[in-house]
């Protein structure tokens, strides 16, 4: 479990973030600060804007108002800023989004080789280490289509880690998985959290939130309803909406 280093500057700062899809106001005045090595789990009903929010952090979505500052870089239209921030942030998707035409190894080494310009030997070595870390070193030469969902998602995590990011974003990483494969992915994520990675996780896995998260955030209708430590959040929720949400899913 990540230790909170409150002495540090927050690594992610969101101030009054607003976003619209056309006329639809999807994020409303979001304010959130994430400390280095902190694990934040975002929960909430579907359509509440939680995925949109974390996609704003590496600018897969653009926010229209407010400020998002990641590792002292403010997200703006400046292409260089976006590139710099994206290389700091790893992202794992619900649908894995592995590149089906590349082998597992090539999936992992692609970005280090062409974005970081690492030598092939170094990136291969790193990739094999990462595959070992996520527990599937023997799958390096296979294609994603030959792997199970859980294995694919672990490759996706390894792929994100290969860029040696400071922050990892997880967008419902276990939602597309069969029940017996969820655990293998959560175990990898837990190990990652223990190693001190800053993580923002959108998830419906309450067990994971309770065990691994430093803080839990509830989103509803585009705004943050409640933030708290897992103990506080699950045992003693303050807000009526939180109580209702928890009563529905627990």
């Amino acid at each position: 479990m990540g230790e909170n280093n409150h002495a540090d500057e927050p690594i992610i700062i969101c101030r009054d973030v607003n976003k619209w899809f056309g006329n639809f106001h999807v994020l409303k005045d979001i304010n959130l600060e994430v400390q280095p090595q902190e694990v934040v789990v975002i929960i909430g009903p579907s359509g509440s804007g939680k995925s949109t929010f974390i996609r704003c952090i590496n600018r897969l979505e653009e926010h229209q108002e407010g400020q998002i500052i990641v590792d002292d870089i403010e997200l703006s239209h400046d292409v260089r800023n976006i590139a710099a921030i994206r290389s700091e942030i790893g992202m794992v998707f619900q649908q894995f989004n592995l590149f089906p035409h590349l082998t597992v190894l090539e999936n992992i080494t692609l970005a280090p080789r062409y974005v970081r310009r690492q030598a092939r030997r170094n990136s291969d070595e790193l990739a094999l280490q990462l595959l070992d870390r996520v527990g599937i070193p023997e799958q390096a030469r296979k294609y994603p289509g030959q792997l199970s969902g859980g294995q694919q998602q672990r490759v996706a995590i390894a792929r994100a880690l290969a860029m040696q990011p400071k922050i990892m974003l997880f967008d419902e990483p276990t939602s597309a998985l069969d029940p017996e494969m969820i655990k293998e992915v959560l175990d990898v994520m837990q190990e990652l959290a223990q190693s001190g990675m800053t993580m923002l996780v959108v998830s419906h896995e309450m067990g994971f939130a309770r065990e691994v998260a430093d803080r839990v955030v509830l989103f509803d209708e585009g705004r943050i309803v409640e933030i708290g430590t897992p103990d506080h959040f699950f045992e003693n929720p303050q807000h009526e909406r939180t109580k209702l949400f928890l009563s529905q899913i627990l």
């Binding site: 590496n58 897969l60 590139a83 994206r86 290389s87 942030i89 790893g90 992202m91 998707f93 649908q95 894995f96 989004n97 592995l98 590149f99 089906p100 035409h101 590349l102 082998t103 692609l110 970005a111 062409y114 974005v115 294609y143 994603p144 289509g145 030959q146 199970s148 969902g149 694919q152 996706a156 792929r159 994100a160 860029m163 069969d178």
Partner: protein
Amino acid sequence: MRREHSDTHFYVAPLEAPPSRRPPITTVGPLGWMRTNLFSNRMNSVTTVVMAGLAVWFLWSFITWSIESAQWAVVYNNLRLITSGMYDRKEIWRMELVTAILVFLTGLGLGIWSQIARRVFIAILLTLIVLLVVPIFGQRIPEPTIYSLVEPQKAPSNFVFIGLEDDEVTVTLDPLTDLDDTGLHYVGYIESRSRAEWSTQSRAATTGELDLSDYNLTGVVRIVDQAGNAVITPDGPVEMAFTSDPQTSTVTFTLPQDGWYIVEVVRDDEANGGRDNNLGYSWLTIDGVELFSSQEEPTQRREEEYGSPPAIEHALFAEEKAYRFDGTRTFGEFISLQISPFFNRIILSVIVGSAIFFNGWLIGSLGKRERTIRRSTLIGWALALPAVVIILRGFDGSRLLPLVSTAQWGGLLLTMLLTVVGITASFPLGVALALGRRSKLPVIKWTCTLFIETIRGVPLITILFMAKLIVPFFWSALSDLDLTIRMMIGVTLFSAAYLAENVRGGLQIVPHGQIEAARALGLNPFLTTTFIVLPQALRAVIPAIVGQFISLFKDTSLVAVVGLFELVGIVDAIVSGQPIYRPYQREAYIFIAIVYFIISFAMSDVSRRLETSGAGSLRKQQ
């Protein structure tokens, strides 16, 4: 990979699994295959029988025709024209060099990247052996001879031909008779060397097995020179009487000088009591005149040298009178007269080509793991096209490689050149247009769309005519450009527009998640397109792209219309420019149809292999 969770049922498994049994005989093997695929129900059975019957009938008529009466001499006597057009004879070694280079590179590439099965290897060896053995049984077939029909009730035809001094000319007169009393089937044979060509019926006519009592045609054949003087040999004037006697008469003589000669046919109706309705026909044939290797020397140039042909009544240019004989011949005669000469022509090239191919293949398969060999093969292929063009074209004033202008390129060479240039140039252009059409910048987007839709809205033939006639009018710099190159540009632009739409289809099926994942990894748009989007998009549309290339290959035949002699154009020129081959258009066009088919089939086979190879077969949309 997604497992279904079945509901729990109360079920107790037996202690031992039942032994697996063979499936019923009617469900597997050839019998099972036929049952499921050909005779699964009454309708299918009927269809199968009808279609099989049609196929057998069609194949049977085609095969019997091609064995019994097709005359393939038009193909192998013009092989050089068909392969390289008017390419300079003296420079033909460059064609051979280029072919050798490409064959070697193909062998190398296949050796490195393809798992050529042993059976393919054996098949090639067997083919080689056949190619080696067949010519032994063969003989060289002569060029077709000139022949004409002396018919009753018509004014006799006189031949006009050009002969060179010391040419030995044989004139043969063959009596013909009417086997069928209704009187319209000619039988006979041309001359002794081609006797085997002719039907058993015609032999019956000449061996006297037929009743020739009705036959009553008499007259005389004379050879005179341009001034009208009879050609005199030591035995007297060259003259030959024809009568009802069904024996062949032949006269052989040597020409005294270069120039025009006339073969006069004088029918003697007086001898028949003034009747001009005698029954019977006679073939008149002339052999030994070099006239008909006309591909070597155009008629025009001959006329410049020997003057205009003499004007005589009822004159026929020997070349213009050519009848097609549709007799029958045996299979043995087919092999020795039709197949062997063809193999005789190509055997050397095939042997040398195979040796080069296997050399490359051997080097490739032995050096599969060597990075230098793989790299040099790739570099070799990359340099191949420009190298081929440079070698074939040469330079103005060079002694080793004198210029052979592209106007002289023709036949299969031109077809392949247009195709390869079209493919290699239109592929990047098409991809660029497809990406441009999806661009967010309106100027680029609308330019690309306008280009694509304009080209797609116009037939290829129009574009070719524009390239030939209209574009140089607007832009004078282009009028100096060679027609061949203008056609290349036209074909390329046309193909690129269609290709762009195919590629765009592929781009649309790449899921957005792929692009997001690439962006999230920090890949810039260029890297994302190059490594993530295009490989997936192109792989998805391989069949469409290859289909596009195959139709590009076939569409190159349209340049014949604007006056280039590619495969179709050259065959057109052969059968219309060399009258002796005019009756053999069928054979000529069937031959190039086979050439087109083999190349198209090879292309689609490559496409099938690409689709199923490597990552292509494992493609999975999540």
